[in-house]
């Protein structure tokens, strides 16, 4: 069975980390601004669905990508209205989004394509980029040779997110409303607006994560396409103590576990159902705090009431 532990496993792990990275970075922005986003999973499903439908209808995966971002942002905005404006319990409102993500795609797919569980295959997925020189070097070609453009984007987003959060005044304001909204408001920051920005960013990124599954890694939307990845991304975020770098490490861990799970099926004499549990059990083990307690933003999950 050791032959599966090769570079191809790492490459596959990098691919499967991509949706997790996008969703987890989305969660990072939202939670850093004080809005718990348990809706990531649902937003991913909406993004995957919207991306697949638009890519199919327009025969252009780039339109699908844009559609997924916009839909993700819009769904996140619903979560924003509920949890920022109307100070709803953020976990409950996120759960509402997750419930909608079970029903709405099924109803719309049924109306469009007479199937509640799948959309038609798209002919063209997002381009796969081959790096010219590297893809001709043995070993390195397997490891870094060819990935979807979204894989590169996701990995590039990690330092970008770090820069935005820690090196810009926007990031400082965003983090301040997640740590101490009262003080931020006193300093003249519009708490609601900052939180809306954060939730929009999280929706756009999670929508992209979903689109990766349906129009880059796969070529259609299928029922329950996220397979709990939005929640695993949250676990990676907690594992990463709400910082971009460590969150990336968490996503890679889960991505490689997922790749291992897929590649080990049929190779070792363990029923496939048990192999499939690996990423989920790993998530629980990691959450149980092998790495130490998470540094939750102080005002995370606490609605803020604006003074009139």
């Amino acid at each position: 069975m050791w032959e599966i532990l090769d570079l191809e496993l790492v490459a596959s792990g990098l691919r499967l980390s991509t949706p997790l990275i996008l969703a987890a970075l989305g969660g990072l922005f939202s939670e850093r601004a004080g809005v718990v986003n348990i809706a990531l999973d649902g937003i991913m499903i909406f993004g995957a669905f919207g991306g697949a439908v638009i890519a199919y209808e327009t025969s252009n995966p780039w339109y699908g990508l844009i559609g997924a971002m916009m839909l993700g942002g819009m769904i996140a905005h619903i979560h924003g209205i509920a949890s920022i404006r109307y100070q709803a319990d953020q976990v409950v409102s996120g759960t509402a989004i997750n419930l909608l993500a079970i029903g709405v795609p099924a109803v719309v797919a049924n109306a469009l394509y007479n199937s509640t569980t799948v959309t038609p295959n798209i002919k063209l997925i997002l381009p796969i980029i081959k790096i010219p020189i590297i893809s001709s070097i043995p070993y390195l070609d397997v490891l870094l040779g060819k990935y979807s453009v979204l894989v590169f984007f996701a990995f590039a987003m990690v330092p970008i997110s770090w820069f935005v959060l820690y090196k810009t005044s926007f990031g400082l304001r965003l983090r301040s409303v997640g740590e101490n909204p009262e003080a931020a408001a006193t300093a003249g920051i519009n708490v609601y607006l900052m939180r809306y920005y954060a939730v929009w960013i999280s929706g756009i990124l999670a929508g992209l994560g979903g689109a990766f599954l349906s129009i880059a890694h796969g070529s259609s939307y299928v029922n329950n396409i996220s397979a709990g990845r939005g929640f695993i991304a949250l676990a990676a975020l907690i594992f990463g103590r709400y910082t971009p770098k460590l969150t990336l490490a968490g996503c890679l861990l889960f991505g490689i576990a997922d790749a291992f799970q897929i590649r080990v099926q049929g190779v070792i004499p363990i029923p496939v159902q048990f192999v499939q549990m690996i990423p989920y059990i790993l998530t629980m083990v990691v959450l149980a705090g092998l790495i130490g307690k998470a540094q939750v933003p102080a005002a995370d999950g606490i609605p803020y009431e604006q003074m009139k």
Binding site: A96, V104, A111, T116, P271, I281, M284, A288
Partner: protein, 352 residues
């Protein structure tokens, strides 16, 4: 003034009506008539004896899962794992019912009920323990336990316990002595085809017990205190950790009791993916029912009627499937969560 007094009843009702409106827009968007759709919904669930029977039948598992989620909420815990808990319990009950053949019903029926509660409770208790011991987020952990449970029972029903000679993914049938009676066996005027069974009575009883525990015992008081404030409870000498684990155990136990109407009263076997989201609907039931056993019963009846009615959507409308109910549930949860919106509208913008 009027509004303040009846807020408890009015807000959920308004949430449901508003969700109905959103549903109507969605129905229009897919090119069907909302009035026609809602008429089909309620004609088949409320206006015939058979329809009412089926509504109660569909409401039964929802009472259990609603109770499960509500009990968790009362202790400040969000149990999204009812779906996994009820699958584990249903499989366990099926196995006990199959392999403890030859015992009398007096032993087997209570035993199976206890098994349902305990196995569901253990599956719910694990995330509770992880929360109490390590601070692991129970929402993520219960979701993970769901996914693990789906894989586990799928393995068991596909592999070792699959009934021979059938393509359907089911176990063997449980012994006669492990079954509970259907309502038509007791009331002759009920149609024989109606699967409504004594599990419904058990569900009502569970609601009563929950009410008594939460509001009439010291322990229930402790659980609610922990739900309101961990630190204050700790200060008052209440063991927060113990109550977190216990509340998750009981919450999982209620979810597990879904096995009573479904396995002991209806299918008499473990059927793969029989639940189809009952555990998740429990969230909507609990929230709409304001986490009160009485409210849970009312909300479960509403969703039972919706589930029953939704079966007629596929038959009558080309562009609609029963998934519409899932949409309505999501919208209802969203509106219940944002009840501040309705409070604002109803009090005409005056600050309360």
């Amino acid at each position: 003034m009027f509004f303040k007094k009846y807020e408890v009843i009015l807000l959920p009702v308004i949430s449901v009506l508003a969700a109905g409106l959103v549903g109507a827009i969605m129905i229009l968007a897919v090119g069907e008539s909302p009035l026609e759709v809602y008429w089909i919904f309620f004609k088949n669930s409320l206006f015939t004896l058979n329809g009412i029977g089926y509504t109660l039948f569909y409401a039964t598992p929802l009472i259990f899962t609603g109770l499960a989620v509500a009990f968790g909420f009362r202790c400040g815990l969000f149990n999204i794992g009812a779906e996994g808990q009820l699958y584990i319990a249903a499989m366990s009950v099926a196995l006990v019912g199959i392999y403890l053949d030859g015992y009398s019903a007096w032993i087997l029926v209570p035993l199976c009920m206890v098994v349902a509660f305990v196995t569901g409770g253990i599956w719910g208790g694990i995330p509770g323990l992880l929360k109490a011991k390590f601070g692991g987020h129970e929402v993520i952990n219960t979701i993970m336990m769901n996914l693990i449970a789906f894989s586990l029972v799928n393995y068991l029903v596909v592999g070792p316990f699959h009934r021979k000679g059938t393509a359907i993914l089911e176990t063997d049938y449980i012994s006669e002595a492990a079954r509970i009676p259907r309502v038509h066996e007791l009331l002759p005027f009920i149609p024989k085809t109606l699967p409504l069974n004594m599990g419904f009575v058990v569900a009502l009883f569970a609601c009563l017990v929950t009410y008594l525990i939460l509001w009439k015992t010291k322990w229930g008081y402790e659980i609610r205190a922990v739900g309101i404030s961990n630190s204050v409870s700790e200060y008052a000498g209440i063991s927060v950790k113990k109550n977190l684990v216990l509340a998750m155990f009981i919450s999982g136990g209620f979810a597990g009791m879904v096995a009573i109407p479904e396995v002991m009263g209806y299918r008499y076997t473990f059927h793969d993916s029989f639940s189809a989201g009952v555990g998740f609907v429990g969230i909507a039931v609990a929230l709409l029912g304001r986490n009160h056993p009485g409210g849970v019963i009312l909300a479960a009846l509403l969703f039972g009627a919706l589930n029953r009615g939704s079966l007629f959507l596929d038959l009558n409308f080309d562009n609609l499937s029963k998934d519409l109910v899932m949409v309505l549930q999501g919208v209802i949860v969203l509106f219940v969560a944002t009840d501040k919106l309705f409070k604002k509208i109803l009090s005409f913008g005056k600050p309360s």
